[in-house]
């Protein structure tokens, strides 16, 4: 269970409040107008931003004071999910051992993970030499190795075409079947297809999650205004 308990965050005239819980293994779409705080919500959970008040709990443990790497949370960003100057194998191995020279054991596991995402041929290449889809696969291979129970997606597949985007999400679910997934999206169809519930973020407030069908079929006034 991931819980945001009376979380408030204010920075430079922007503010966000959240008080909500997410069941383990749930898949949640985060929807709302640009600048409403979708990315900030993810940053708070990931630990890149600190709330001014409130707590973030995972399975009853307060994770608010923990740095990003000590949280049970992994995040895929819109871009920059791989270090461009390191080869694919090293990029993935860093998911197990964030050290200057990942051990041969870590490299072996990284190779296996890359095999699972179909990148066996590309381990020695730099990310720049891969296609967008292959880069996403490499990032997913690392996600597999970090094995954190909560996965945050800040539109990491936005640059891919619709069918490739769907493939990547399906691969993610296949690799991490029990993960709690939160994903920012602008696309109602994608939300219906991939998520069971929706958090609507607007006007500095992240609403409690609502069943995805109810969200779209019986929208509140604010949601209708956004969807229209």
């Amino acid at each position: 269970m991931l819980t945001l308990e009376d979380v408030t965050f204010t920075r430079d005239g922007f503010s966000l409040t959240a008080d909500l819980s997410l069941a383990p293994g749930s898949r949640t779409a985060i929807i709302g107008p640009s600048g409403g705080g979708k990315s900030t919500l993810l940053s708070l959970i990931a630990g890149f931003e600190m709330p001014d008040a409130g707590r973030i709990l995972h399975d009853g443990t307060d994770i608010t004071p923990l740095p990003p790497s000590d949280r049970p949370v992994a995040m895929l960003f819109q871009d920059g999910n791989l270090f461009p100057h390191l080869d694919v194998l090293t990029n993935v191995a860093l998911g197990i051992e964030p050290v200057a020279r990942p051990s041969s054991a870590a490299q072996k596991r990284a190779r296996e993970a890359l095999e699972r995402v179909g990148l066996t041929e590309h381990t020695a290449k730099k990310p720049g030499a891969l296609s967008g889809g292959q880069q996403s696969r490499a990032a997913l291979a690392r996600l597999l190795l970090t094995a954190r129970p909560v996965v945050l997606l800040d539109e990491p597949f936005a640059a891919l075409g619709p069918s490739l985007r769907r493939q990547m999400f399906d691969l993610l679910v296949e690799l991490l079947p029990g993960a709690t997934i939160l994903m920012v999206t602008h696309d109602p169809d994608e939300a219906r297809r991939s998520a069971g519930q929706v958090i609507f973020v607007d006007g500095g407030r992240a609403e409690a999650p609502v069943d995805v069908n109810r969200f779209f079929d019986a929208p509140s006034a604010a949601v209708s205004a956004y969807l229209a």
Partner: protein, 522 residues
């Protein structure tokens, strides 16, 4: 990253210590200077003359450099020709060129027995003298015309191409384009360029040492040097140092706001597409400007090459020994610059609230005159030790301190970009300390770091300043050796040594800069 009550980490402490070293050194040497200065009895007429001359030559140097740069930059901005990018690259050379080498070259062209006077005499004119005010200004224009040209060229390239297209579609003539597009750009760029060159010219010791002198052409820094070396009047040297500090300090800090992106010519090799300037008059004017500027830059360097090449193999041992000493000084200075810059930049990136104070501390070094730092250190060291024995370490230290601001300006923005691009990924993976530095930051900093190290090595290799205060014949560096050979009229050896100095300085820059580019893909 959020900033919450954070402990004083080792990184931050190291960065603060490195940043504090610069103001501390300035304060300590300045304090030493002031305690001595109180004993001196006011300013004599000679001192006032030095102040007047310093300001006059700096003002003239700035005016001529900027005025002459306008036609050159304009021609470079709108013409395409074979060798254009080579010429633009050449504009960066004087920055790294050891002053004494440039002066040797300028003397070969404009000096008493130089090419220019040979021509004048052959045509029945009186020969001209390069010594005194006009010689000092000439040398400063040689160094700063390229700088001003680069600043203006940047200004021209920053003019949005839409504006030139609009001018073309409106059918604006050269006069209208100049009035509405070019003049506003020049008015924005010129004050900064004037100020920067003014400041540089007030602290250029080696030019005044070689081409100035005498009651009518002595700068404040030269007067300091003479007070220390010839009269051994530390009180007077201290008083003059205080004046020099005030003279440059304010102007330098003021000038800093203008130097923003006076890069190294990166991106300057693309001419803008223009539709004006097709007339025969402007074509001719542009050609003349480019040719004259190229000759002005190339001839002195060519003179060093031609005069030095035959002497290079038969150089006396003292020259080689001084070259080895200079290499040691350059290596120590470079190491210090890299260490200080990395420590300061790392702390500024890890703790964002410290970025401005750390940058500010580094910038103080620009306001400090190296010769004043040296004088202060001389005063401090003198009661305890023979200054000549510390000549080389002190030179390396002062060279490093004055280069740190340039290095930090190259490294810190790059590091901040690395943090913005990859900081969150590194944090979420738990990459910390050495692993983060080794895997993420150093590889991506290689270019600016290599460039900075190259600049530090070349500037230290060619520096003729503090060393003149401290050195005796056993501790001379290569630039000082060149100066002494010139003073002894051993022109062949001087030419060979000058060529050696030029080659080593450029080679050092090339090696480090190149090193930073290898494997810096993606």
């Amino acid at each position: 990253m959020a900033e919450r009550a954070q402990p004083l980490t080792g990184t931050v402490a190291a960065g603060l210590l490195a940043a504090a070293a610069i103001p501390a050194l300035i304060l300590v040497t300045g304090g030493a200077v002031l305690t001595k200065a109180t004993g001196a009895s006011g300013l004599g007429p000679g001192d006032w003359a030095a102040i007047r001359f310093t300001l006059l030559q700096a003002a003239l140097s700035a005016l001529f450099s900027v005025a002459l740069a306008v036609p050159v930059a304009r021609a470079l901005a709108r013409r395409r020709f074979a060798g254009r990018s080579l010429l633009v690259a050449l504009l960066g050379a004087p920055f790294l060129l050891p002053t004494i080498v440039a002066i040797f070259g300028l003397l070969a062209i404009f000096g008493r027995g130089g090419v220019l006077n040979a021509g004048l005499v052959a045509l029945g004119f009186e020969p001209v003298s390069i010594y005194g005010l006009w010689g000092v200004v000439l040398a400063h224009v040689f160094f700063n015309l390229p700088l001003a040209t680069r600043l203006f060229l940047q200004g021209w390239l920053d003019v949005p191409s839409e504006r030139l297209r609009l001018a073309a579609s409106l059918g604006m003539g050269p006069g209208a384009i100049f009035r509405h597009i070019e003049l506003p750009m020049l008015a924005r760029t010129a004050p900064g360029a004037l100020l920067v060159i003014f400041v540089i010219s007030t602290t250029s010791f080696a030019v005044a040492l070689t081409l100035g002198g005498g009651p009518r052409a002595t700068t404040v820094e030269l007067a300091i040097y003479q007070a220390v070396s010839f009269e051994f009047d530390l009180g007077r040297a201290a008083l003059l140092s205080a004046i020099q500090l005030g003279l440059t300090g304010a102007a330098a800090l003021f000038a800093l706001s203008f130097v923003g992106h006076a890069g190294f010519g990166a991106g300057l090799d693309r001419p803008t597409r223009r539709w004006d300037g097709k007339g025969a008059m402007t074509r001719t004017a542009d050609s003349v400007a480019i040719c004259l500027a190229a000759l002005f830059l190339i001839l002195p360097l060519a003179a060093v090459l031609i005069a030095g090449l035959p002497a290079l193999i038969s150089l006396p041992d003292v020259v080689w020994w001084s070259a080895i000493r200079s290499l040691g000084v350059a290596a120590a200075s470079t190491l210090l610059v890299v260490a200080l810059t990395l420590a300061m930049a790392r702390a500024a990136v890890r703790r964002r609230s410290l970025a401005r104070p750390i940058e500010g501390a580094a910038l103080l070094a620009i306001a400090a005159s190296p010769l004043v730092l040296g004088t202060g250190l001389f005063i401090l060291v003198f009661p305890f030790a023979d200054p000549t024995r510390l000549a080389l370490p002190v030179t390396a230290l002062v060279n490093a301190i004055v280069t740190v601001p340039f290095a930090l300006r190259a490294v810190l923005p790059a590091w901040q970009k690395i943090e913005a691009d990859h900081g969150r990924l590194a944090a979420s993976l738990g990459l910390k300390g050495w692993a983060r530095l080794r895997l993420v930051e150093l590889p991506r900093l290689a270019r600016p770091l290599g460039f900075s190290a190259g600049v530090a090595a070349a500037l230290s290799m060619g520096d003729l300043g503090v060393i003149a205060l401290f050195a005796d014949s056993d501790t001379a560096t290569l630039p000082l050796q060149v100066y002494r050979l010139m003073g002894a009229y051993r022109m062949e050896d001087a030419a060979g040594a000058a060529l050696l100095l030029m080659l080593v300085s450029f080679a050092l820059f090339w090696l480090f800069d190149r090193g930073g580019r290898v494997d810096a893909d993606a």
